[in-house]
């Protein structure tokens, strides 16, 4: 789905880019507050949903070529975080939905997980 469709589904506000969100297509997502896990398991091109709002979230996105970040449960990121995202052209979306609700909404509309199922 396009980032614009995704933003509409999550009733989310874009606060970091002027870019046309219709031009970005995202089919996979990874939801996590642990950047160590994101770095280990998230596949390139995936959307990142998180409740953490510090600058290292954007740094992690830079390293992994993550095209956009959704901050969940009404969290507002630090100014430094928004600034770094702007400098790097990474859209930041803010949604009032919780992580669970956000994932449920996107999953129901066909968004796929970022990683393959792990054996246990």
């Amino acid at each position: 789905m396009t980032l614009q469709e995704l933003a509409s589904l999550l009733d989310a506000k874009n606060i970091s880019t002027e870019d046309d969100l219709n031009s970005i297509v995202i089919n996979n997502a990874y939801a996590c507050d642990l950047m160590s896990d994101v770095l280990a398991f998230c596949t390139p091109g995936s959307l990142l949903l998180t409740g953490l709002t510090n600058v290292q979230i954007v740094r992690t996105a830079q390293m992994l070529d993550i095209p956009a970040i959704v901050f969940v449960r009404g969290k507002v990121p630090l100014d430094e975080t928004v600034q770094l995202a702007r400098e790097n052209g990474i859209p930041i979306l803010l949604t009032r939905y919780s992580m669970f609700e956000s994932c449920g909404i996107l999953f129901a509309k066909g968004m796929k997980p970022s990683i393959q199922m792990q054996e246990i």
Binding site: D33, L34, M35, S36, D37, V38, L39, A40, P44, T50, L52, N54, V55, Q56, I57, R59, T60, Q62, M63, L64, D65, E80
Partner: protein, 143 residues
Amino acid sequence: MGAPVCLEYRIEGNDFMVAGAASNNIKNTLKMLGIASDICRRVAIITYESEINLVIHAGGGILQAIISEDHVDLVAKDEGPGIPDISKAMIEGYSTATEEAREMGFGAGMGLPNIKRNCDEFDIESTIGKGTTLKCVVYFPQN
């Protein structure tokens, strides 16, 4: 490509605002040199995990990338407290990170295993009270 491109950065300990800037510079340099994006991403993961380790555990150190025609040598060197048991540090989930690092989303004990997974050659030496040197090599596939 002619002579190797050498990049070296001083990483400050406990500075979470700047952490990752050096890794981003290394990644951008590789991109500019036309290196494939999956290789750039693997190098970025290695350098970023190393940079975060220098910030969290070592009180800072040096991060170095030497980009040659067919590979990149990566070195993270510090004069920190050293790693008491490297085999333990290589176990996924084992972590000695500070509370501050955990609040930033790190300290899951995935760093060194993730570095090893993303490089082609991996070597780590550590002496208690003297510091740690991590050396990695990533080869560029020839088309």
